[in-house]
Amino acid sequence: MSDLLRLEGVHTHIAQYHILHGVDFAVPKGQLTMLLGRNGAGKTTTLRTIMGLWQASQGRVVFDGQDITKTATPEIAQSGIAYVPENMGIFADLTVRENMLLAAREGEIDMARLKWIFGLFPALERFWLLAAGSLSGGQKQMLAIARAIVEPRALLLIDEPTKGLAPAIIMNMIQAFKELKSTGATILLVEQNFLAAKLLGDNVAVMDDGRIVHTGAMAELAEDKSLQQKLLGLSMDAHQ
């Protein structure tokens, strides 16, 4: 399986703070790669660096064979990367429809695809003409993900989609990601919920203190409790 995205020795500074210290990992095409790690390990900074929202001070970000390290964010998005930030980034004053329309850069939303999205997230169809700010936290997360998949994208970067959601909604969100995976989408998912990580991940990269400290198959990490304890400080079972 070829790599769609590759980070080579990426360093990122935010003002005087050195956050990423030479991050190296790859995201294979057509697979779901989990990016795990404790709070403050540098996961969000890694996604933001890939998107060009923070510039890498050293190293390379290679997407689909192209070096995008110094590329501006709009061009990175146009090259086929969709990003769902930790705060979801929805436009609260705009309606659900307007949020989706903005994400459809081709102009119009493909109706067959929209029907499929409504199948994944029926709430969006009900609240189509309501201001996004009036939605619940779970519905906002659905909108944020729906916006990222309103048109086919080569790579989805999603930052903690289950954060703050009720357990029932998390299980449904996992189902939605399984559905998304079955379409052959390539996804890099930052997640703190280890059950979600175990159920969804094909591969895993674990971060600590701004570095990648482990890469491999998700199934291996899910099976190896001592490795979980060593890398994450806790076993996955404790987080289910």
Partner: protein, 338 residues
């Protein structure tokens, strides 16, 4: 494609239409009626206030979008008002005969020519101002305040060099002078025209912001510019466009303001700058609807207090701002910021 439905049994959220701030406008008008006493005087005062409010809105609307979209504090916005006003002189040069013509269409043509020249020139000036003055200080508020105020002082001195330091009288075209009298109430024709122009521009802005993709991008950018970029849109290019449009609108407001005062001074933009900032703070930074409501409220309060308690008139706008911020600290129609 098969589906994995996410169940959601939550009730439909209630849509909250926040009409209270805009209802303050007619409420204030009605409240003033018994204090003013005479109905005809009240009509005259109200029409004058609406005209003034529309002109302030035209001058302030661009500034509020510029702040909302790129977090830029442009204290030099008055430059475009002054230059717009002085462009009336340029346009009036070859059309002097039309000003004194009894033909109302030629009179309106003069006004439209002034507006056109002012908007083109101030739009171009806005483009240059953004490139030279604003661009080097993105994200640095203190420097923005200093450099944009400096830019305004330089521009004011340029006006002195080109047109001289003395005030220049500006005559209204013949057909736009005088008043329309209905019963005992007299409404100056020019003020009615200013209300019509203001409402037309507000309507056009509303349509652009709510019915076009560009408008959608501007509204989204005001809320969360970074996310607009992450969706693949070049926010800087959008900002330059909004800056040019905002400068052109200030130029349009400058022309209307100049004919309203019937005098041109280099400092007229700087004088109205304070009022503009009060309006955009009252309205909610980045909100066009808030700016419209705020401008009308400021003008109504200024006119009524000017008539009822002239000594309070000078501080009435500040007092209004304090009261509104005590009620709604983010302004009348705050924009949801990330």
């Amino acid at each position: 494609m098969s589906t994995a439905a996410i169940s959601d049994t939550a009730a439909l959220p209630k849509v909250k239409l926040d009409l209270l701030p805009i209802l303050l406008v007619p409420g204030l008008m009605l409240l003033a009626l018994p204090f003013v006493g005479s109905f005809s005087t009240w009509v005259t005062l109200t029409v004058a206030a609406l005209a003034m409010g529309m002109m302030i809105f035209l001058m302030a609307s661009g500034l509020t979008l510029v702040f909302g979209l790129m977090d830029v504090l442009n204290f030099g916005h008055g430059v475009f008002i002054s230059f717009g006003a002085y462009m009336s002189l340029v346009a009036l040069g070859p059309l002097a005969g039309w000003v004194e013509s009894p033909n109302i269409w030629l009179n309106i043509g003069v006004l439209l020519a002034c507006i056109l020249v002012a908007m083109v020139v101030t739009g171009a000036l806005g483009w240059a101002f953004e490139r030279v003055v604003i661009r080097p200080v993105y994200g640095q508020h203190l420097k923005q305040i200093l450099i944009t105020m400096g830019g305004m002082i330089v521009a004011e001195q340029m006006i002195h060099v080109i047109w001289g330091a003395s005030p220049i009288p500006l005559r209204l075209p013949e057909g736009l002078r005088g008043a329309i009298v209905i019963g005992d109430a007299a409404m100056e024709k020019y003020r009615v025209i200013a209300v019509v122009v203001g409402l037309t521009v507000f309507g056009a802005m509303y349509l652009v912001l709510n019915r076009t993709k560009i408008g959608l991008l501007i509204r989204a950018g005001v809320e969360n510019a970074e996310m607009v970029e992450a969706l693949g849109y070049k926010i800087r290019r959008l900002f330059v466009g909004v800056f040019i449009a905002g400068s052109a609108l200030a130029g349009l407001g400058g022309v209307l303001w100049a004919f309203y005062r019937q005098t041109l001074t280099a400092g007229m933009g700087m004088e109205v700058n304070v009022l503009i900032f009060i309006v955009i703070i009252i309205g909610g930074l980045g909100s066009v609807g808030g700016c419209f409501t705020g401008a009308l409220l400021v003008a109504l309060v200024a006119n009524y207090t000017g008539f009822l308690a002239p000594k309070l008139a000078l501080g009435s706008s500040i007092l209004l701002m304090v009261l509104i911020l005590l009620w709604r600290p983010q302004g009348l129609y705050p924009v949801a910021k990330r």
